[in-house]
Protein backbone atom coordinates (compact mmCIF):
# COMPACT_ATOMS: atom_id res chain seq x y z
CA UNK A 1 0.00 0.00 0.00
CA UNK A 2 1.50 3.39 -0.94
CA UNK A 3 1.90 6.10 1.64
CA UNK A 4 -0.60 8.55 0.22
CA UNK A 5 -3.41 6.03 0.25
CA UNK A 6 -2.60 4.93 3.78
CA UNK A 7 -2.66 8.57 4.89
CA UNK A 8 -5.99 9.07 3.24
CA UNK A 9 -7.49 6.05 4.99
CA UNK A 10 -6.23 7.29 8.32
CA UNK A 11 -7.58 10.81 7.89
CA UNK A 12 -10.87 9.49 6.62
CA UNK A 13 -11.14 7.49 9.81
CA UNK A 14 -11.54 4.07 8.30
CA UNK A 15 -12.12 1.91 5.31
CA UNK A 16 -15.90 2.31 5.35
CA UNK A 17 -15.70 6.01 4.54
CA UNK A 18 -12.90 5.50 2.05
CA UNK A 19 -14.88 2.72 0.42
CA UNK A 20 -17.75 5.08 -0.24
CA UNK A 21 -15.49 7.42 -2.14
CA UNK A 22 -13.05 4.97 -3.61
CA UNK A 23 -15.23 1.95 -4.19
CA UNK A 24 -13.87 1.22 -7.66
CA UNK A 25 -10.28 1.89 -6.66
CA UNK A 26 -10.67 -0.51 -3.76
CA UNK A 27 -11.97 -3.33 -5.85
CA UNK A 28 -9.15 -2.71 -8.29
CA UNK A 29 -6.76 -3.13 -5.38
CA UNK A 30 -8.49 -6.15 -3.90
CA UNK A 31 -5.53 -8.34 -4.75
CA UNK A 32 -3.29 -6.35 -2.41
CA UNK A 33 -2.56 -8.09 0.85
CA UNK A 34 -4.29 -6.21 3.68
CA UNK A 35 -2.11 -4.71 6.37
CA UNK A 36 -1.37 -7.23 9.09
CA UNK A 37 -3.41 -6.61 12.21
CA UNK A 38 -1.44 -5.09 15.06
CA UNK A 39 -1.59 -7.23 18.13
CA UNK A 40 -3.03 -5.44 21.15
CA UNK A 41 -0.80 -5.59 24.20
CA UNK A 42 -1.51 -5.39 27.90
CA UNK A 43 0.14 -2.19 29.13
CA UNK A 44 2.10 -2.22 32.37
CA UNK A 45 0.49 -0.55 35.36
CA UNK A 46 2.08 2.90 35.79
CA UNK A 47 2.66 2.15 39.51
CA UNK A 48 3.04 -0.83 41.84
CA UNK A 49 0.07 -3.11 42.55
CA UNK A 50 -0.10 -1.85 46.12
CA UNK A 51 0.38 1.83 45.23
CA UNK A 52 -3.30 2.71 45.57
CA UNK A 53 -3.68 1.18 49.04
CA UNK A 54 -5.66 1.52 51.18
CA UNK A 55 -8.28 2.80 48.73
CA UNK A 56 -7.81 0.00 46.23
CA UNK A 57 -6.08 -3.11 47.55
CA UNK A 58 -3.13 -4.84 45.91
CA UNK A 59 -4.96 -8.13 45.39
CA UNK A 60 -7.78 -6.43 43.51
CA UNK A 61 -5.30 -4.50 41.38
CA UNK A 62 -3.39 -7.68 40.57
CA UNK A 63 -6.46 -9.65 39.51
CA UNK A 64 -7.96 -6.66 37.74
CA UNK A 65 -4.89 -5.96 35.63
CA UNK A 66 -3.37 -9.44 35.20
CA UNK A 67 -6.61 -11.38 34.72
CA UNK A 68 -9.53 -9.17 33.71
CA UNK A 69 -7.70 -6.59 31.60
CA UNK A 70 -5.42 -9.28 30.15
CA UNK A 71 -8.52 -11.32 29.29
CA UNK A 72 -10.04 -8.47 27.29
CA UNK A 73 -6.76 -8.00 25.39
CA UNK A 74 -6.59 -11.71 24.58
CA UNK A 75 -10.23 -11.89 23.49
CA UNK A 76 -9.90 -8.76 21.35
CA UNK A 77 -6.89 -10.20 19.55
CA UNK A 78 -8.73 -13.48 19.05
CA UNK A 79 -11.78 -11.72 17.63
CA UNK A 80 -9.73 -9.59 15.25
CA UNK A 81 -7.79 -12.64 14.11
CA UNK A 82 -11.07 -14.48 13.51
CA UNK A 83 -12.36 -11.60 11.39
CA UNK A 84 -9.13 -11.56 9.40
CA UNK A 85 -9.64 -15.25 8.70
CA UNK A 86 -13.26 -14.65 7.80
CA UNK A 87 -12.24 -12.05 5.22
CA UNK A 88 -9.60 -14.32 3.76
CA UNK A 89 -12.09 -17.17 3.46
CA UNK A 90 -14.97 -14.87 2.49
CA UNK A 91 -16.97 -16.69 5.15
CA UNK A 92 -18.97 -14.29 7.30
CA UNK A 93 -21.26 -16.79 9.02
CA UNK A 94 -19.98 -15.67 12.44
CA UNK A 95 -19.54 -11.98 11.66
CA UNK A 96 -22.20 -10.96 14.19
CA UNK A 97 -20.57 -12.98 16.95
CA UNK A 98 -17.09 -11.60 16.31
CA UNK A 99 -18.32 -8.04 15.84
CA UNK A 100 -19.90 -8.18 19.29
CA UNK A 101 -16.66 -9.61 20.68
CA UNK A 102 -14.65 -6.74 19.18
CA UNK A 103 -17.06 -4.15 20.60
CA UNK A 104 -17.18 -5.64 24.11
CA UNK A 105 -13.52 -6.58 24.46
CA UNK A 106 -12.20 -3.61 22.51
CA UNK A 107 -14.14 -1.22 24.72
CA UNK A 108 -12.94 -3.17 27.76
CA UNK A 109 -9.32 -2.74 26.65
CA UNK A 110 -9.62 1.02 25.98
CA UNK A 111 -11.42 1.74 29.23
CA UNK A 112 -8.96 -0.22 31.37
CA UNK A 113 -5.99 1.38 29.54
CA UNK A 114 -7.42 4.76 30.48
CA UNK A 115 -8.52 3.73 33.99
CA UNK A 116 -4.99 2.89 35.20
CA UNK A 117 -3.57 6.17 33.93
CA UNK A 118 -6.14 8.45 35.56
CA UNK A 119 -5.24 7.07 38.98
CA UNK A 120 -2.11 7.71 41.06
CA UNK A 121 -1.07 7.03 44.66
CA UNK A 122 -2.74 9.36 47.12
CA UNK A 123 -0.56 12.39 47.81
CA UNK A 124 1.74 11.47 44.90
CA UNK A 125 -0.39 12.74 42.08
CA UNK A 126 -3.62 11.16 43.32
CA UNK A 127 -6.48 12.87 45.12
CA UNK A 128 -7.19 16.49 45.85
CA UNK A 129 -8.95 18.65 43.33
CA UNK A 130 -8.45 19.65 39.72
CA UNK A 131 -6.80 22.98 39.09
CA UNK A 132 -6.30 25.48 36.30
CA UNK A 133 -8.03 24.96 32.95
CA UNK A 134 -9.70 21.72 34.02
CA UNK A 135 -11.25 23.22 37.12
CA UNK A 136 -12.39 26.20 35.08
CA UNK A 137 -14.02 23.95 32.52
CA UNK A 138 -15.69 21.75 35.15
CA UNK A 139 -17.03 24.82 36.94
CA UNK A 140 -18.27 26.25 33.67
CA UNK A 141 -20.09 23.08 32.58
CA UNK A 142 -21.31 21.69 35.92
CA UNK A 143 -21.63 24.79 38.11
CA UNK A 144 -18.98 23.69 40.58
CA UNK A 145 -16.51 20.91 41.26
CA UNK A 146 -18.80 19.62 44.02
CA UNK A 147 -21.78 19.49 41.68
CA UNK A 148 -19.69 17.57 39.14
CA UNK A 149 -18.43 15.18 41.80
CA UNK A 150 -21.94 14.58 43.10
CA UNK A 151 -23.26 13.81 39.62
CA UNK A 152 -20.33 11.54 38.75
CA UNK A 153 -20.64 9.63 42.05
CA UNK A 154 -24.40 9.22 41.62
CA UNK A 155 -23.92 8.03 38.05
CA UNK A 156 -21.32 5.49 39.21
CA UNK A 157 -23.46 4.25 42.09
CA UNK A 158 -26.50 3.70 39.90
CA UNK A 159 -24.97 1.99 36.86
CA UNK A 160 -27.18 -1.01 36.26
CA UNK A 161 -25.14 -4.15 37.03
CA UNK A 162 -21.64 -4.04 35.50
CA UNK A 163 -20.29 -0.83 33.99
CA UNK A 164 -18.54 2.48 34.36
CA UNK A 165 -19.06 6.14 35.07
CA UNK A 166 -17.32 8.45 32.62
CA UNK A 167 -16.50 12.11 32.18
CA UNK A 168 -16.41 12.82 28.46
CA UNK A 169 -15.40 15.74 26.27
CA UNK A 170 -17.77 16.35 23.36
CA UNK A 171 -15.88 18.09 20.59
CA UNK A 172 -18.95 19.23 18.67
CA UNK A 173 -19.90 21.83 21.24
CA UNK A 174 -16.84 21.69 23.48
CA UNK A 175 -18.79 20.50 26.51
CA UNK A 176 -17.98 18.06 29.27
CA UNK A 177 -20.60 15.50 30.14
CA UNK A 178 -20.98 12.70 32.68
CA UNK A 179 -22.48 9.46 31.41
CA UNK A 180 -22.91 5.87 32.48
CA UNK A 181 -21.52 2.94 30.54
CA UNK A 182 -23.12 -0.50 30.76
CA UNK A 183 -20.67 -3.39 30.44
CA UNK A 184 -17.93 -1.64 28.44
CA UNK A 185 -19.60 -0.74 25.18
CA UNK A 186 -23.16 0.40 25.84
CA UNK A 187 -24.85 3.76 26.48
CA UNK A 188 -22.19 5.98 24.89
CA UNK A 189 -23.04 8.38 22.06
CA UNK A 190 -20.64 8.92 19.15
CA UNK A 191 -18.22 11.81 19.07
CA UNK A 192 -17.19 11.93 22.72
CA UNK A 193 -13.78 11.28 24.25
CA UNK A 194 -13.56 9.79 27.75
CA UNK A 195 -11.25 11.80 30.03
CA UNK A 196 -11.94 10.17 33.40
CA UNK A 197 -13.51 6.76 33.98
CA UNK A 198 -14.44 4.74 37.04
CA UNK A 199 -14.83 0.98 36.79
CA UNK A 200 -17.83 -0.19 38.85
CA UNK A 201 -17.87 -3.80 37.73
CA UNK A 202 -18.00 -5.88 40.88
CA UNK A 203 -14.51 -7.21 40.09
CA UNK A 204 -13.21 -3.67 40.66
CA UNK A 205 -14.20 -3.58 44.32
CA UNK A 206 -15.73 -6.81 45.59
CA UNK A 207 -12.78 -8.19 47.56
CA UNK A 208 -12.47 -5.03 49.65
CA UNK A 209 -15.95 -3.48 49.57
CA UNK A 210 -18.27 -6.41 48.72
CA UNK A 211 -21.80 -5.08 48.14
CA UNK A 212 -20.87 -1.55 49.25
CA UNK A 213 -20.23 0.13 45.91
CA UNK A 214 -20.81 3.66 47.32
CA UNK A 215 -17.93 3.19 49.80
CA UNK A 216 -15.62 2.22 46.94
CA UNK A 217 -16.66 5.29 44.97
CA UNK A 218 -16.01 7.58 47.94
CA UNK A 219 -12.57 6.02 48.45
CA UNK A 220 -11.69 6.22 44.74
CA UNK A 221 -11.69 10.04 44.66
CA UNK A 222 -8.54 9.85 46.80
CA UNK A 223 -6.55 8.35 43.92
CA UNK A 224 -7.78 10.38 40.94
CA UNK A 225 -4.86 11.77 38.95
CA UNK A 226 -6.21 15.21 38.00
CA UNK A 227 -3.09 16.19 36.09
CA UNK A 228 -3.64 13.30 33.73
CA UNK A 229 -7.31 14.21 33.35
CA UNK A 230 -6.25 17.75 32.46
CA UNK A 231 -3.80 16.34 29.87
CA UNK A 232 -6.60 14.17 28.47
CA UNK A 233 -8.82 17.24 28.11
CA UNK A 234 -6.10 19.17 26.30
CA UNK A 235 -5.50 16.28 23.91
CA UNK A 236 -9.21 15.80 23.25
CA UNK A 237 -9.86 19.49 22.65
CA UNK A 238 -7.03 19.90 20.13
Amino acid sequence: MDTSRRDFLMTAGGIAIAGGVLGSTLSAQAADAPAAAVEHKLPELPYAYDALEPYIDAQTMTLHHDKHHAGYVKNLNAAEAALEKARAANDFALVQHWSKQVAFNGAGVSLHNLFWTIMAPNGKGGGGQPAGKLLEKITQDFGSFDAFKAQFSAAAASVEAAGWAALHYRKEDGRLLVLQIENHQKLTPWGVTPLLVLDVWEHAYYLKYQNKRPDYITAWWNVVNWEQVQANLEAAAK
Binding site: K67, A161, N183, E202, Y206, Q210, N211
Partner: protein
Protein backbone atom coordinates in the same frame (compact mmCIF):
# COMPACT_ATOMS: atom_id res chain seq x y z
CA UNK B 1 -48.60 -6.51 51.28
CA UNK B 2 -44.84 -6.14 51.30
CA UNK B 3 -42.59 -8.54 49.39
CA UNK B 4 -40.57 -10.65 51.82
CA UNK B 5 -37.16 -12.32 51.56
CA UNK B 6 -37.77 -16.07 51.32
CA UNK B 7 -35.65 -18.13 53.71
CA UNK B 8 -32.64 -19.94 52.24
CA UNK B 9 -33.65 -23.57 51.58
CA UNK B 10 -30.40 -24.76 53.21
CA UNK B 11 -27.98 -23.80 55.99
CA UNK B 12 -25.36 -21.15 55.13
CA UNK B 13 -22.59 -23.76 55.19
CA UNK B 14 -24.50 -26.43 53.26
CA UNK B 15 -22.97 -25.61 49.87
CA UNK B 16 -19.35 -25.43 51.01
CA UNK B 17 -16.80 -25.72 49.57
CA UNK B 18 -18.50 -25.06 46.22
CA UNK B 19 -20.17 -21.91 47.54
CA UNK B 20 -18.83 -20.63 50.84
CA UNK B 21 -20.85 -19.35 53.82
CA UNK B 22 -19.12 -16.00 53.30
CA UNK B 23 -20.47 -15.73 49.77
CA UNK B 24 -23.96 -16.61 51.00
CA UNK B 25 -23.67 -14.12 53.81
CA UNK B 26 -23.23 -11.33 51.23
CA UNK B 27 -25.15 -12.77 48.31
CA UNK B 28 -28.25 -13.70 50.27
CA UNK B 29 -27.89 -11.47 53.33
CA UNK B 30 -26.91 -8.27 51.50
CA UNK B 31 -27.63 -8.45 47.75
CA UNK B 32 -30.86 -10.44 47.82
CA UNK B 33 -32.06 -8.54 50.88
CA UNK B 34 -31.27 -5.20 49.18
CA UNK B 35 -33.37 -6.13 46.14
CA UNK B 36 -36.30 -6.90 48.48
CA UNK B 37 -35.85 -3.63 50.40
CA UNK B 38 -35.48 -1.53 47.25
CA UNK B 39 -38.54 -3.11 45.67
CA UNK B 40 -40.70 -2.46 48.71
CA UNK B 41 -39.55 1.16 48.80
CA UNK B 42 -40.40 1.59 45.12
CA UNK B 43 -43.87 0.00 45.20
CA UNK B 44 -45.00 1.27 48.60
CA UNK B 45 -48.22 3.25 48.19
CA UNK B 46 -48.60 2.37 44.49
CA UNK B 47 -51.09 -0.09 42.93
CA UNK B 48 -48.19 -2.54 42.50
CA UNK B 49 -47.99 -2.95 46.28
CA UNK B 50 -51.10 -5.18 46.06
CA UNK B 51 -49.70 -7.39 43.31
CA UNK B 52 -47.78 -10.65 43.44
CA UNK B 53 -44.06 -10.65 42.58
CA UNK B 54 -44.76 -12.30 39.20
CA UNK B 55 -47.44 -9.73 38.38
CA UNK B 56 -45.02 -6.92 39.23
CA UNK B 57 -42.34 -8.45 37.00
CA UNK B 58 -44.74 -8.71 34.08
CA UNK B 59 -46.15 -5.20 34.56
CA UNK B 60 -43.06 -3.18 35.45
CA UNK B 61 -40.06 -1.70 33.64
CA UNK B 62 -36.95 0.11 34.85
CA UNK B 63 -35.98 0.08 38.50
CA UNK B 64 -39.11 -1.69 39.72
CA UNK B 65 -38.64 -4.45 37.17
CA UNK B 66 -34.93 -4.81 37.96
CA UNK B 67 -35.47 -5.17 41.67
CA UNK B 68 -38.53 -7.41 41.37
CA UNK B 69 -36.81 -9.66 38.85
CA UNK B 70 -33.70 -9.89 41.00
CA UNK B 71 -35.81 -10.87 44.04
CA UNK B 72 -37.40 -13.63 41.96
CA UNK B 73 -34.16 -14.73 40.24
CA UNK B 74 -32.27 -15.17 43.49
CA UNK B 75 -35.04 -17.14 45.25
CA UNK B 76 -35.17 -19.35 42.17
CA UNK B 77 -31.38 -19.72 42.11
CA UNK B 78 -31.20 -20.79 45.78
CA UNK B 79 -33.88 -23.41 45.27
CA UNK B 80 -31.98 -24.83 42.32
CA UNK B 81 -28.91 -25.55 44.45
CA UNK B 82 -28.57 -28.71 46.50
CA UNK B 83 -25.50 -30.69 47.53
CA UNK B 84 -25.35 -34.25 46.15
CA UNK B 85 -28.30 -33.77 43.85
CA UNK B 86 -27.85 -36.95 41.78
CA UNK B 87 -29.10 -37.25 38.22
CA UNK B 88 -32.28 -36.25 36.40
CA UNK B 89 -34.97 -38.90 35.99
CA UNK B 90 -38.36 -39.58 34.45
CA UNK B 91 -40.01 -36.99 32.26
CA UNK B 92 -37.18 -34.47 32.70
CA UNK B 93 -34.56 -36.98 31.60
CA UNK B 94 -36.72 -37.93 28.63
CA UNK B 95 -36.96 -34.33 27.49
CA UNK B 96 -33.24 -33.74 28.05
CA UNK B 97 -32.45 -36.73 25.86
CA UNK B 98 -34.92 -35.60 23.22
CA UNK B 99 -33.75 -31.97 23.10
CA UNK B 100 -30.02 -32.19 23.98
CA UNK B 101 -29.05 -35.83 23.37
CA UNK B 102 -27.86 -36.42 26.92
CA UNK B 103 -27.26 -34.78 30.30
CA UNK B 104 -23.59 -34.03 29.58
CA UNK B 105 -24.57 -32.14 26.45
CA UNK B 106 -27.09 -30.07 28.41
CA UNK B 107 -24.43 -29.23 30.99
CA UNK B 108 -22.08 -28.19 28.21
CA UNK B 109 -24.67 -25.80 26.83
CA UNK B 110 -25.37 -24.39 30.28
CA UNK B 111 -21.63 -23.89 30.87
CA UNK B 112 -21.24 -22.16 27.51
CA UNK B 113 -24.18 -19.86 28.17
CA UNK B 114 -22.93 -19.01 31.66
CA UNK B 115 -19.37 -18.27 30.60
CA UNK B 116 -20.17 -16.28 27.44
CA UNK B 117 -22.72 -13.91 28.98
CA UNK B 118 -21.12 -10.43 28.69
CA UNK B 119 -21.01 -8.77 32.10
CA UNK B 120 -23.71 -9.60 34.66
CA UNK B 121 -26.55 -12.02 34.08
CA UNK B 122 -27.98 -15.50 34.30
CA UNK B 123 -27.91 -18.78 32.37
CA UNK B 124 -31.13 -20.80 32.35
CA UNK B 125 -32.70 -24.10 31.46
CA UNK B 126 -36.16 -23.19 30.20
CA UNK B 127 -39.21 -24.76 28.66
CA UNK B 128 -40.10 -22.79 25.54
CA UNK B 129 -43.12 -23.89 23.57
CA UNK B 130 -42.83 -27.47 24.85
CA UNK B 131 -39.11 -27.68 24.11
CA UNK B 132 -36.19 -27.54 26.56
CA UNK B 133 -33.71 -24.79 25.78
CA UNK B 134 -30.67 -23.15 27.31
CA UNK B 135 -30.81 -19.35 27.28
CA UNK B 136 -28.87 -16.51 28.89
CA UNK B 137 -30.17 -13.17 30.10
CA UNK B 138 -28.37 -9.93 30.94
CA UNK B 139 -28.50 -8.16 34.31
CA UNK B 140 -31.94 -8.79 35.88
CA UNK B 141 -33.73 -10.10 32.79
CA UNK B 142 -35.50 -13.47 33.10
CA UNK B 143 -37.43 -16.05 31.05
CA UNK B 144 -40.82 -15.07 32.52
CA UNK B 145 -40.56 -11.76 30.66
CA UNK B 146 -40.11 -13.68 27.40
CA UNK B 147 -42.95 -16.15 27.77
CA UNK B 148 -40.67 -19.01 28.76
CA UNK B 149 -40.89 -21.25 31.83
CA UNK B 150 -37.72 -21.30 33.93
CA UNK B 151 -36.65 -24.74 35.17
CA UNK B 152 -33.20 -23.93 36.58
CA UNK B 153 -30.72 -21.06 36.71
CA UNK B 154 -27.18 -20.06 37.62
CA UNK B 155 -26.25 -16.53 38.69
CA UNK B 156 -23.18 -15.24 36.83
CA UNK B 157 -23.00 -11.77 38.30
CA UNK B 158 -19.45 -11.41 39.63
CA UNK B 159 -20.77 -11.19 43.21
CA UNK B 160 -21.93 -14.81 42.88
CA UNK B 161 -18.39 -16.15 42.59
CA UNK B 162 -15.81 -13.46 43.24
CA UNK B 163 -15.13 -14.34 46.89
CA UNK B 164 -14.73 -18.06 46.14
CA UNK B 165 -13.39 -18.12 42.58
CA UNK B 166 -12.12 -14.58 41.87
CA UNK B 167 -12.21 -14.02 38.10
CA UNK B 168 -12.71 -17.70 37.28
CA UNK B 169 -16.31 -17.83 36.16
CA UNK B 170 -15.84 -21.07 34.16
CA UNK B 171 -14.57 -22.87 37.27
CA UNK B 172 -17.49 -21.66 39.40
CA UNK B 173 -19.95 -22.67 36.70
CA UNK B 174 -18.48 -26.15 36.32
CA UNK B 175 -18.42 -26.74 40.08
CA UNK B 176 -22.06 -25.76 40.43
CA UNK B 177 -23.15 -27.84 37.44
CA UNK B 178 -21.27 -30.89 38.66
CA UNK B 179 -22.08 -30.69 42.37
CA UNK B 180 -25.09 -28.53 43.16
CA UNK B 181 -27.56 -28.82 40.31
CA UNK B 182 -30.88 -29.63 42.00
CA UNK B 183 -32.59 -31.82 39.39
CA UNK B 184 -35.62 -32.36 41.63
CA UNK B 185 -36.28 -28.65 41.55
CA UNK B 186 -36.01 -28.55 37.75
CA UNK B 187 -38.31 -31.59 37.51
CA UNK B 188 -40.85 -29.97 39.85
CA UNK B 189 -40.88 -26.81 37.71
CA UNK B 190 -41.39 -28.96 34.62
CA UNK B 191 -44.29 -30.82 36.25
CA UNK B 192 -45.89 -27.53 37.37
CA UNK B 193 -45.82 -26.17 33.83
CA UNK B 194 -47.72 -29.16 32.40
Amino acid sequence: MAITLAPLPFAQDALAPIISPETLQYHYGKHHQAYVNNLNKLIDGTPLAEKSLEEIILAAEGGVFNNAAQVWNHTFYWNGLKPGAGEPQGKLLELIQRDFGNVAKLKEELAAAATTQFGSGWAWLVLDDGKLKVVKTGNADLPLKHGQTALWTIDVWEHAYYIDYRNERPKYTQQVLDNLLNWDFAAANLAKSA
